[in-house]
């Protein structure tokens, strides 16, 4: 029992990311509930505070001036088509900017999916390395005052990802849906001066969208129409124009933001299933030899993607010369981020960090990414060792897993910020306790 130093107090770990919100009991190896962070809503009309049906409804009495008349969260939140439903995401560049939907999101994950009462469990929340003190204080406030949690702690995703790999010191490369970051972690603390991050995944997404929409000589441009808007379709051969009919009844009620969200999802899915990275640098001949992959879109259109699927992944390491010339403010690539992070670190630490590289985040799951990174790194650091878990769960929910490990340790329980302490010291204690 005490062998591994664990002592489970049934704490709940909540990890809020750009794409999904993960929640589950500490000590588990997978989060019990994973829900999209995006949420559907109907705008509140000032004149008509109409409360419509929905999975979770914002209580009109607690939030006086709500922007949203109704909020739809969970697996049947944004993905379920509703007339006039807009889609929002509280997170901008990894940070929670809009705290209003956070409560319904967390509440849904804990009470609806996990069927637990947050007032009975200590809650550990994760934060990105570049989180602001105001943000974490706001999170603590929500937890203590709206969920009545007995104890609270906020931990850094970089540190947690290092813990998952079983390392106290590591260079954590975390590629999420919106942000890519390189965080040096030493003895369980991040080095703030060495932290570097960029919205690189956004660029990759934009690039993939560009690739799909524009026709090439082999295929036509792809219409990104989500399955919610398609009434029927007939199977066609690869490369042939699709044969489908739209749901005319829904077209008028579809909002711009929902359409955008749905298209992004289509692109995302294409990237996830097709895109890859060439492991030995870009080489036209080599890429041409790689087998193409077929992908079918919701419209029924299907095509083979050869070089395109590697072009997308290549953006992680290299922006093309043409792209660089046209846009001087491109987000930094992964090697650039690493160089920047390492340069800011003490020369003594560099070798330690480079031999403990931890690769995590759903965006790092491009086929061949770890090999490519290894090849790039070995050139300048011969002893590079990359820890890249093979299971998707460990990569996608790395920070949650780290939180699960941390919050189930017997020695950790002295670090919880209790309700009593919060009331006594106020918000300052968060900065003191969660270093």
């Amino acid at each position: 029992m005490v062998n591994y130093g664990g002592d489970e107090v049934s704490a709940i770990v909540v990890d809020v990311g750009t794409s999904s919100l993960r929640a589950g009991y500490a000590g588990d190896d997978t989060p019990k509930s994973v829900i999209p962070t995006s949420f559907g809503f109907h705008k509140a009309q000032q004149t008509d505070p109409d409360v419509s049906m929905g999975d979770v409804q914002e209580n009109g009495t607690t939030v006086v001036k709500s922007k949203y008349s109704s909020i739809y969260v969970g697996s049947s939140g944004p993905s379920l088509w509703r007339e006039g439903m807009e889609i929002g995401n509280p997170i901008v560049e990894g940070l929670i900017q809009d705290y209003e939907p956070v409560k319904p999101l967390v509440d849904h994950a804990i009470t609806k999916v996990m069927r637990a009462n947050p007032a009975e469990h200590p809650i550990l929340v994760t934060e990105p390395s570049w989180n602001t003190p105001a943000n974490r204080e706001r999170m603590a406030e929500i937890m203590f005052e709206e969920f009545n949690v007995p104890a609270f702690y906020i931990a850094n995703t970089g540190v947690l990802n290092a813990f998952v790999a079983g390392k106290g010191s590591a260079l954590v490369i975390d590629i999420g849906q919106a942000m890519a970051s390189v965080t040096p972690v030493v003895d369980g603390f991040i080095l703030r001066k060495g932290l570097s991050y960029s919205p690189l995944p956004k660029l990759i997404h934009a690039h993939a969208r560009h690739v799909l929409l524009n026709p090439t000589q082999h295929r036509r441009g792809v219409e990104l129409i989500p399955h919610q808007l398609i009434a029927s379709k007939l199977p066609v051969d690869p490369g042939q124009p699709p044969n489908y009919t739209l749901r005319q009844d829904r077209l008028t009620g579809t909002t711009e933001s929902w359409r955008k969200w749905a298209e992004e999802r289509e692109v995302e899915e294409w990237v996830q299933s097709v895109a890859g990275v060439v492991d030995q640098g870009w080489n036209d001949q080599m890429v041409a030899q790689r087998p193409p992959r077929q992908y079918e879109f919701p419209t029924g259109y299907s095509a083979y993607f050869g070089m395109e699927r590697f072009q997308v992944g290549e953006q992680l390491f290299n922006h093309g010369a043409a792209l660089q010339a046209s846009n001087p403010n491109l987000p930094k690539t992964i090697p650039a981020l690493m160089t920047e992070a390492l340069r800011a670190c003490d020369p003594e630490l560099r070798q330690v960090l480079v031999s403990n590289v931890v690769l995590t985040g759903g965006g790092s799951m491009f086929a061949g990414f770890a090999e490519r990174l290894q090849n790039e790194l070995v050139r300048s650091f011969p002893h590079t060792r990359i820890h890249a878990p093979g299971t998707p769960i460990e990569r996608r929910y790395g920070a949650w897993l780290g939180g699960s490990i941390l919050a189930s340790l017997g020695t950790f329980h002295q670090l919880w910020i209790s309700r009593e302490e919060y009331q006594e010291h106020g918000k300052n204690i968060i900065g003191q306790r969660c270093k």
């Binding site: 104890a151 603390f189 060495g194 003490d346 560099r350 020695t411 002295q414 919880w416 209790s418």
Partner: protein, 507 residues
Amino acid sequence: MAASAADIRSALSLPENNAHAGPSQLKKPVQATTRKPEGISRELYSLIGPSAPSIAAQLAKPRLKQKPNFGVGGVKTKWELRTFKNSARNDGLQLQHWVQASEDPSAEYSFSKYNVPNNNYTYSQDEYTRYLDDQEWTKEETDYLFSVAQDYDLRWYIIHDRYEFPNGPQRTLEDLKDRYYSVCRKLVRNRPWPGDETSKTLLLASFQFDKDREMTRKRYLESLESRTPEQIAEEEALYIEVRRLEQNERKFKRDRENLLRTLAGMDSGLPDVMEDDIVSSGVLIGGESVYKSKKKKGTVEDSPATPSTATIPSIKKPNAPKNVVFDAQNCIIRTEAPPTAIATKAAHQPAFLRSFKIPAPKAALAPKINQALAELGISATRLVMPTRDNFAQLESLLDVTTHLVETKRLVDKADYDISVLKKRMEIREGSQVDGGGDGEDGMDIDGSQAGVDAEGETEEGDDGRAVSVMSGRSGRAGGRKHGRRSMSISSVDTTSTRAGIKRQKRS
């Protein structure tokens, strides 16, 4: 059949400590205190009691497969959800966890013991002004440094990362460390110390920090890292070259050794070091210089690994001055082989009796010398007491005798020459026919004549001693031999080798 404790007692004729005590009664008090551990037979346990060796625990009967025991026989583990307080916390937070119901509810939380605060140094205003003043640092900043250092448990990388003193100068990691440790050192030095001196110096040593050295080290590290690929490639190439040179050198050395062994009979299994001795003794000056220049070129850093020639004499030397007193007290006389000795198997000197080493006269003169000594009543080949002193005296006597014999021979020769010349003059005066032209032939003839005449001359020896018996021929032959012999004798004198003795005996 099992032997009871009583049986063994009777067999060993130990007294029964209880008249009507059976084994069952003996066992009882033992069982009351401790249970018999598994794996020890009941009889053995009743003999040795609870002080069973700990090995017994491993004597448990081996089982084929460990079977899980899920509360068989109604023994169910009861778990319960309990609230607990963590004494490592300052507040009264109560968390809940599942524990076995058998555990003591009032027990201390088992993880609180890991909360180890590390002791931190604090100082008063007075102490600061007296010892710690530094124009580079204000008291406020020092205070701040100490608070950050405590917050992050002296993890310096983190401290440096989080160190942000408002309006303070930019500090490097070394600045911070230097200030912190120097303050700690000063505090330890100037405060009354309760413990002993060694612990104080130990503590001071743990606070030692050499800023300049650290900076230099970091600079080296940085320069090491900032090498261009070309530089790295060049270094790599140089390293390979060095390794190649080293290998060549080793090969050269091995070849040379083999050669030396073949030439000098060095199949003795003497340590390799001795070969370097030869080199230093000047046998292979040329080879040595080549060896050295190669070494300088290539393996400067590896030099401690290869035994250098300079170190060998220094191994022998320390003996001498140290043992002088001891030797004098115990009448030990050390005969040290001269450093120029050639370390061959033949030259190796085993232990010997001194009587084996009675100095022998020069072989050419031996009969004459022996004769002379016999006249004095001394035997040159046997000493009643072959002590060191007696040996020295015998040797000097031999020397003197040899000298005497030699002188006599010279005198005789001179006399003979004179007589020959006289005769010649007589002949010349008698008949003026012979010219002085035939120099060498004449000399030869004179020599042979002298040889013949010498026989006669012995009769007219001046002092009548047999020592004077000396033929020109034997003298000359002796002279020739002497050249050869003297070499061996001189070598015997210096090294006194067995070979020398052998050769002497043979002659």
